[in-house]
């Protein structure tokens, strides 16, 4: 409001506002965060929509993601080519989904993608093993991990096909009230 900013045109900002759960101020803040990641790479003028990507190494070193066990998956899921390199749009998308305002279904959809390590559209036993290993940093033995995976599938697999579909996942998330507040990255 009345800010003298020349990074975006008015229309650009409006579009960002309509496409994310952020206010104008938050968008600007996120932009500066993004710009700070690679000051020499990201121009301070986005009015001409430059095609800039910040490499994953820099994205993953953000304090918000640095210690997150799933940082690589997050970056991959939100980046365009699945390689973790992010444009500003991807970056805003990511934080929009992780914001407080995003609805449960949207969050569940992306959480599902994050946990779906092999991108096959299902969370299978292998994906689960990956997840558990990441979560526990290898503190559990192999048998324990496979037992956990078995139990998880047992609990959440509604159609008994031995893997979790998005549907199963959403049902399960529905029973976990904390999901909404925990699948959230503050910026």
């Amino acid at each position: 409001m009345g800010n003298k900013q020349t990074v975006f045109t008015h229309e650009q900002l409006e579009a960002y506002q309509d496409c994310t759960f952020f206010t104008r101020k938050e968008i600007m803040r996120l932009f500066y965060r993004y710009q700070d990641l690679a000051p020499q790479l990201v121009p301070l003028d986005y009015t001409s929509c430059p095609d800039v990507k910040v490499p994953y190494e820099l994205i993953g070193s953000m304090p918000e993601l640095k210690d997150n066990p799933f940082r690589q998956r997050i970056a991959q899921v939100f980046s365009e080519d699945g390689d973790g390199h992010m444009t500003l749009d991807n970056f805003l998308d990511m934080f929009s989904v992780m914001s407080e305002m995003a609805p449960r279904d949207l969050k569940a959809y992306y959480a599902f993608k994050i946990y779906d390590f092999n991108n096959d559209g299902y969370i299978c036993a292998w994906d689960l093993e990956q997840t558990v290993t990441k979560l526990t940093r290898g503190e559990l033995s192999a048998e324990e991990v496979s037992l956990v995976c078995e139990k998880v599938l047992d609990e959440a697999d509604g159609d008994h096909d031995g893997r979790l579909s998005l549907e199963d996942f959403q049902n399960m998330i529905l029973r976990a009230p904390d999901f909404l507040s925990t699948f959230h990255i503050r910026i």
Partner: protein
Amino acid sequence: MSAYYSNKGYEEDPDYPDYSGSRNRTWEHLKTQDYPDSPDAQNNSAYPRTRSNPYSADYRTSPDYPGSLAEPDYPGSRSNPGQSGTRSNPFAAGSRRSSDYPTSLAEPDYVGSWSKPYHPGSSSEPDYSESQQNSDFAGSRSSGNYAGFRTNPDYLDSLGEADYPGAQGNSNHSGFRAHSNHPGSRRNPEYAGSRINPYIDTLGEPDYPGAENQPISPNFFAEPDYPNAEDHQNSPTFWGNPDYPVAEDGHDYGSSETSEITREVLSRTSSIRPSFRHKGDGPLGIRGRENEDYPESIAMKTLEMANPYGNSVPGAPGDGYVNPAYVGESSPRPVYGNPPLSGCDWHKSPQGQKLIASLIPMTSRDRIKAIRSQPRTMEEKRNLKKMVDKEKSKQSRRMLELNCCAQCLNSISRVYRRSKTSLSELLNSVSLWQKTLKVIGGKFGTSVLSYFNFLKWILKFNIFSFIVTFSFIIIPQFTVAEKNTLQFTGLEFFTGAGYFGNTVMYYGFYTNSTIRHRNGGASYNMQLAYLFTIGACLIVCFFSLLFSMARYFRNNFINPHIYSRGIAKLIFCWDFTVTHETAVKLKQKNLSTEIRENLSEILQENVKLTLNQQLIRFSAHLAAWVVSTGVAVACCVAVYYLAENNSEFLKNHRDPGAVLLLPFLVSCINLAVPRLYSMFRLVERYEMPRHEVYTLLIRNIFLKISIIGILCYYWLNVVAQAGEECWETLIGQEIYRLLLMDFVFSLADSFLGEFLRRLIGMQFMTSLGLQEFDIARNVLELIYAQTLVWIGTFFCPLLPFIQMITLFIMFYVKNISLMMNFQPPSKAWRASQMMTFFIFLLFFPSFTGVLCTLAITIWRLKPSADCGPFRGLPFFIHSIYGWIDTLSKRPSYLWVVWIYRNLIGSVHFFFILTLIVEGKDKMFLIEKLTKLQDAEKRANTSSFTLERRDVEQPGPLHVGEHDAACDLRFRRSVQEETPKA
């Protein structure tokens, strides 16, 4: 409020008249065509209504989509002209929808397979037995219809549907076709996976037949084929059509019927919800409903109001009674069933077109919500928005020339929206402690963060109350303030008496006169201002409590039965807010321990206790309850006697510090007894830790509230009746001292107690380790203080301000103490569920108790004769009576009098209000129950698949039943193997 919303949605939309028109035409069309033809009118009527007609009608009215494309193909290919005619229409509509859609797609196949399910009735069909066997899948055979149905721009939910696989030319196409050719394959229970299936296709996994794109259709459109189809005649009510033959069934939908559907549908596929949403969400659906007599939908809306996302879906109230859980979420689930087409020209594809078409009739607010909730990349969302805006402006130019009223409304809504965003931006810009909260969340996770959020929330209450009281009571009083002659010594900060007694802080200082500066200027009646301001504060608090409670319930109400012992939740609810390195490591370690515990618990499940053990356990519980209640009662008695004797004592000794004795005792009780209660855990054993937490909470809140209760009793019955001079001020001072003492104790506890505990834990008894932040106890302290503040606002209008300051300080103190002395919680703590409970506690014993106390004060007590704004009146409320009397003498204010007499003064009004509120409560509960049943059933989907069949298929269809079941199982196993192959 809610009604306003829905109406607004309706009025603002310039498209509405058009659609309703098309709907009407639809009916005509339907009647002329279908009814006479169909031997089984029931089935057929349900069919076309829900599906085909709206679309065809709609499309025909739409000039954008030339309707010539596919229609001629249809009639010829049907074996049953009457029925197939109706069925095919929708498809035609769908195909006509966009010109780049290959019309040839699947129609011939469809037709053949469709007609089967409808034949059982006529029984002349040679395929009869087969159709029996496959009757379950009748609906899925009509999936083509369904897709067509969703192409209708009326449908919000058509947003992201990928139903027209062929249209994009992706792999779904062939699958889809194959699917419709082989009805049997639709038996496949794999429907559940259907919604992600599209992704698979894009991800390049060809194994899955695209047919599963239509999992949803069976739920709805297969229904009429069943003998007991009446159960599903709810559908007409969705459309609000009165001339539906079986409409009477639709009217009495209640939880039982809903659950019936739910069960039924569930058993077929687990992607039930999308289908329900489909129905309910269509803007057309809701408008239809709102025009008809559906009070339920309005009732439901209120609940939604509390939900930030709830308002965005225009149709939400409608599906509310089907599956309330999803009402709140603005993004229709099926959206996610969309294959995210790569490339940014996806919007040119049929789905994109569909999506755009569905977005156009929405209000701008809903549209933006819908766009935001699309799981697509920014580029796609932006293009989508551009397209929609373009279409919209095209349409509006065409239409709004006739309808300038709608245009006007539209622009008003735009202005309203814009001002609202800027307002929320402004509010966000003052968001307090953003960084601190982030650090706390990063180090301690969501659960501890919830305490601080609760604190912040209460602080907001107090800021609001302060602003209101300050501007409407305190400032006017300042303008007429007399000089304070009392000496200020400094001790007053603790006792609240003396000097402060003669300031704006207390009731007694306020004037009873009408303030009037300069002759002829506006006058200000202090009595009324005092009552109205306090009343307004409480009313606003009441509603914000109610709405937050509703919101929390909506989001977090989860049946503890389902909830217990989930290892999946441990895995998938990793706290993404935790960002601090050591915290992450600690959390990972804790998680491993918890998983291990959970595993061992599962492994050695159900260790049956012997009778003896059970008896011991039971008696331990009993003893603990008796002791805790006894302690609470003893504390109350002690407080009461001390209070009584103290006043005697104070009369004789004029030592100003002596007044601190009572608050000191109360604070000591509040400090010590909860710790005593916590020690009961040494004796009591609970199967679930959650039970322990809840028991502890209940005991603590009982203690705190009963102490406050006994104090209130003492104040209202002893202090107020004692005939002392200015008893209101005395009560105000008492409350001030209680609050202050509580604050001092909290400070001391944080700085000394917690610090000492850390020293002991770190230095002397390392086995103890660092302590964990006790969220429950801390939250209860906040609730206790807030209760006092609410009571005290009447006697001491400055109290919210004092509480504001103490909360502000407490935030920092707790923050520092947390960072220094505590470690992150080791257990996953159900923060959101607990928050729901806390807010409920704040509402139920606390706030309602305050209301009762104040009501007694205002209606039943005599104000002191020589001080305060109400001096000389027999009761506080008499100021209002007097005001009404004056007003009734002035004709221009008669409306106020009327409102007072008929609404506020009338018992009937309150009676009606109670009924409404109760009705809403019941609706809410029914919704929740339905949802729970739903969820439970979803858990047992597979077992129901077979069970349902027994219930559902009496009559001729029984023949193939067992074959079907076997068939089902067989196919499932086949299906399981195919992807692996």
